[in-house]
Amino acid sequence: MTGVLAATEHGINDPFVVPPVLELFEFPAIFFEGTPFAINRTVLIVLFATLLAMALMAFAFRSPKVVPGKAQAAAEGLVGFIREQIAVQVMGPEGLPWVPFLTTIFLFVWINNIFEVVPLVNFPATSRMAIPAFLAGLIWLAFFITGLVKQGPRYIWNVAFPPGVPWPIYILVTPIELVSTFIVRPLTLAVRLFANLVAGHIILTIIFLTIQAFLFSGSGTPVGLVALAAAPLLIGFELVVGVLQAYIMTILAAVYIGSSLHAEH
């Protein structure tokens, strides 16, 4: 952030200094500095997002009625969407016990993504690898343990040797299946969310920086005006990306869990 502030202060004389990327994503500790429990801006955003998600759901369902009020109708729409469009559509009726888990993932990721465009916060906590990696690890545990519970120890055998393949092909298929199921799945889950939010944060920083540096700089004003016109579009785009990434994370969790419910045959 210091890069952005520096560009603001020196905007006219020293235009458009793009700060080093790490400076946009690393913040100094605020509380408990030097201990393993140091809290910086990212941690505060995560904690606030968690509290906000809990508060929203608790408020919406504080006294459930048969004829829902506004808040309850909105929250029911969200839960119903995840239940019908994600859980049941992907996993069938067996997906119903997973609806709370999927709703939690969706809400947590979505609210963390939205902080990318919230004024004065302007930082998506999901653009630090720790949080996507934690979610991916959680989903990995969910589908791995589901597979072990539903299929027993044969789960790993079923993954490694999909049926209906002539046996010489197993030399090729088995390593691919093992690597893609147990290593590539969580890796892509985490990297997808992380990279989307990092890219969004950098793009928004650059567009805001351009506005700051060029809008009142005299000769560069047209560039600043173009950036000013593009900024709302980009903010809208990032809002869409935030919802879409939360949706994709949730639906992939459902697909992975659904794939370990039954052996392929």
Partner: protein, 72 residues
């Protein structure tokens, strides 16, 4: 590596990595729209599968994006 060559490499990694997924997502969404237009009652299923496919294809481009930062 020297800074200038590294910068070109970063651009190449992301740029070349984005070509394939760009073409792939184009085909994917185009075919999905075709399917939805032919059979609107299957639109929900097609849309879910389309997003799944997009997620897998897009991951390749994002690997390029992340790698471009990892290159020193």
């Amino acid at each position: 590596m020297e800074g200038d060559i590294a910068a070109i490499g970063k651009g190449l990694v992301f740029g070349l990595g984005a070509i394939g997924p760009g073409i792939g997502i184009g085909y994917l969404v185009g075919k999905a729209i075709e399917a939805m237009a032919r059979q609107p009652e299957a639109a929900g299923m097609v849309r879910t599968t389309m997003f799944l496919g997009i997620a897998f294809v897009e991951a390749l481009a994002l690997f390029g994006f992340v790698l471009s930062f990892i290159i020193q």
